[in-house]
Amino acid sequence: MNRKLIGLLIAVIAFVVFLFLLPQPEAPEPDAWPVIDGNTFVLRGVRVFDGERVHTAADVLVTEGIVTAFSGKVPVPNGVPELAATGQTLLPALLDAHTHNFGASREEALRFGIGTQIDMFTAHTSLAAARTQRDSVERTEQADMWSAGTMVTAPGGHGTQFGMAIPTLDNPADSAAFVAERIAEGSDFIKFTVEDGSGWGNGLPTLDAETLAAAIAAAHAHSKLAVVHAGTAEEAALAVEAGADGLVHVFRGEMSPALLAAIVENDVFVIPTLTVMESLAGQPNGLVDDARLQPYIDPAQEDGLIRQFPGSGREGILTTALATVRALHDAGVVLLAGSDAPNPGTAHGVSLHRELELLVEAGLSPQAALASATSRVADAFNLPARGRIMKGARADLVLVAGNPLEDVAATRAITAVWKNGFRVQRARFDGATTETDLPKAPAVLGVFDDGADGWYATTDSIMGGASSVTLAARDGALVIDAEVKTGAPFPWAGAMRSMIDGGMAPTDASAFETLTIRIRGQGTVQLLFFSGASAQGVPAVLPVQLEGSWQDLALDLSGVAGLDLTRLRAVGLTAGPAPGAMRIELDEMVLR
């Protein structure tokens, strides 16, 4: 009997030893990654936070910008680049649930791993382009955006002080038509302001309870979310009573048990924006001194991070806010991470990393804080295929060194950011070049024997101008018929070609010295070069005089002011700024 027991024991031990002897995936060095020009790759052996839970070691396969497999070990088609990322943590690109977007904001956000921003008030003219971008999986250097467009406020209320004339609402009868106008402008959801301005000591007119309730009902009738900026606890109670789906700030003042009960009862989500509370409290955020962030902070971001609210320094405000957030979290209220950038003391992208830290300080676990910046935002604003790593999700990803589930500040140590599966070239502002090799710029930019070779029309209409252009590939040349009209501050019409597939992604053109062109036209045309750290930067311009007959030009690129050949993004050929009609025929353009 004993001998049998011993035999059984030996068999069990032998089996366990066998299990331990079975081979595990090897872990090659992370810096041995190949340079990839596409949006198909597999990450091996990485710790994954999928938006809700943690997986200790998984493979993530991205196929043309979409996560197509996610498991313990993914068998991968031959030829797909493999990136080993053992010991690092992969997260869905973060979502910032409260921003105000203009200028280079979405580029700044993406650089810090934010893939989608929920804008709470911006010019509605930017919404159509944002919608097109977020539907595509093309290469982009900008975060995607969902937006409230114009926020809804009372005449002279909070929101009207920014020097931008906006329509206002002052009675319940107008609310349905008013909300319908916002939706027609492209608002993805409706944001209301209930703010008496007591926070900064001046009484402001604000939406009354009746108007707010009617307008929120109108938004709901269009199946749109209604979110409210409520300044004080009393205003928050009013907003919840009126049917708000979410509060976009934590409110000032103590939260009564009745208010908490109402928030829980009505399933209202809260975007605390603790970073901006910290700024209002006059406390430094320390972000510009963090060596993990500092190289990627551009001058405008740095300026924002150290700026202060006029009259800030009410110390109690952050303490109260943290206590409120803890109570909300304990009660099971959905909290979303939002930065309210670019308010004083904040900056796009950078500040969300501080928000995560403040949420943890308020009492959330790192895991809950990370969910509040990923899956929770996607769920609250109904953004499909975002904020999660799963089969079918958009490959907006951020890879960080270390484990943010233990120390949430590890999200700052970004190793790589992917947008639509394309590796983002994180621009640096400390003099160092970007850490990864850029794809090489193509030499031949057009021969036009077989179509337009990727050239497309460009006019000042995006700036409100009236110029027009038609392109045609005829007899081996690109025929550009431009009609420049006055209207825009800088009128133009012509043709453009991106270095890579229609976007503004940078390429390395430093091996080239000369641009040769075979061209015909009459008058002055402008050669434009889009290059440098920002896709939004002003292009370098080289005027070229044409004499009416076919000309072969060889242009020395070293002499072009403002041209950064190490990051060449696109070239353009335009008529203007003088008004008039012009035909430009381009037979060939080659970098040499």
């Binding site: 089996f15 066998f18 079975l22 595990q24 497999a69 070990k73 068998p75």
Partner: protein, 247 residues
């Protein structure tokens, strides 16, 4: 006391089967041989890691054999020899031999796993996180239970003469149509849809999820389906048991 009887009964079952070459050899050798041929020697697809994929599916194939034959043929033969009658009057619950047979099938499943895992790791470059190896072993071992129930139902209904033939006729097509030999993707669509009604398909789906071959849509769903199959087979077995008693 009961555990002692159970242990001896299980050990007896295992030894008797182990010493029956016409049972042990095919059930252990076939999966290993097929895996070597189709998983390691001839790699049909370049688009996936075949040794990893087929480790999961031949694993399922491997554990089906001992469960189906151990129960299907074993029970039918015992029934024919009058053993069942004897055990019915023996002072031991009739559940003991059934449970012992199940444990035997699971032990065989472990042996199949050890053989296939060794082959895959040594010659097929199969690499998995340790947790996945353990999960695969657990999946294949516990996954034997539905096939035990299936074998039990067959064994109680079939005559000892018919049992071996029927089990062989069921065993091989069941494995093939469930995509255990060749990945289902290689099949026409209607055959892929047919596989959904076959129990091995669902166990293979779980095993493939474990090894990362193909993330399952829903592992709990596959587990539920297998549990449902088990209950149905046990119900059929219960009817068969009643009929055998009446006979």
């Amino acid at each position: 006391m009961v555990i002692g009887i159970l242990g001896r009964e299980t050990w007896g079952q295992f030894i008797s089967v182990w010493r029956t070459p016409e049972f042990a050899l095919p059930t252990l050798l076939f999966p290993a041989m097929f895996y070597v041929f189709f998983g390691l020697l001839f790699t049909m697809s370049r688009s996936m890691h075949m040794p990893t994929w087929l480790l999961a599916t031949y694993g399922v194939f491997g554990i089906m054999g001992p469960a189906l034959f151990g129960f299907g043929i074993g029970i039918a033969v015992e029934k024919g020899e009058g053993w069942l009658r004897l055990k019915r009057v023996a002072p031991v619950s009739p559940w003991v031999p059934l449970f012992a047979r199940t444990v035997m099938a699971m032990l065989f499943a472990l042996v199949v796993f050890v053989i296939l895992a060794s082959l895959g790791a040594l010659f097929g470059d199969v690499r998995m996180p340790r947790l996945d190896w353990v999960l695969l072993a657990v999946t294949l071992t516990v996954g034997a239970v539905p096939f035990c129930a299936m074998g039990l139902a067959a064994g109680l209904w079939l005559s000892p003469q018919a049992a071996p033939a029927v089990m062989n006729i069921v065993y091989l097509p069941l494995a093939f149509l469930s995509g255990l030999w060749i990945p289902l993707m290689a099949f026409p669509t209607w055959m892929q849809q047919l596989a959904v009604v076959l129990p091995p398909y669902h166990l293979a789906a779980i095993a493939l999820d474990v090894v990362g071959g193909k993330p399952a849509e829903s592992v709990p769903l596959h587990i539920t389906v297998l549990a449902a199959f088990t209950i149905v087979f046990l119900a059929i077995a219960a009817l068969g048991w009643r009929r055998a008693q009446e006979a």
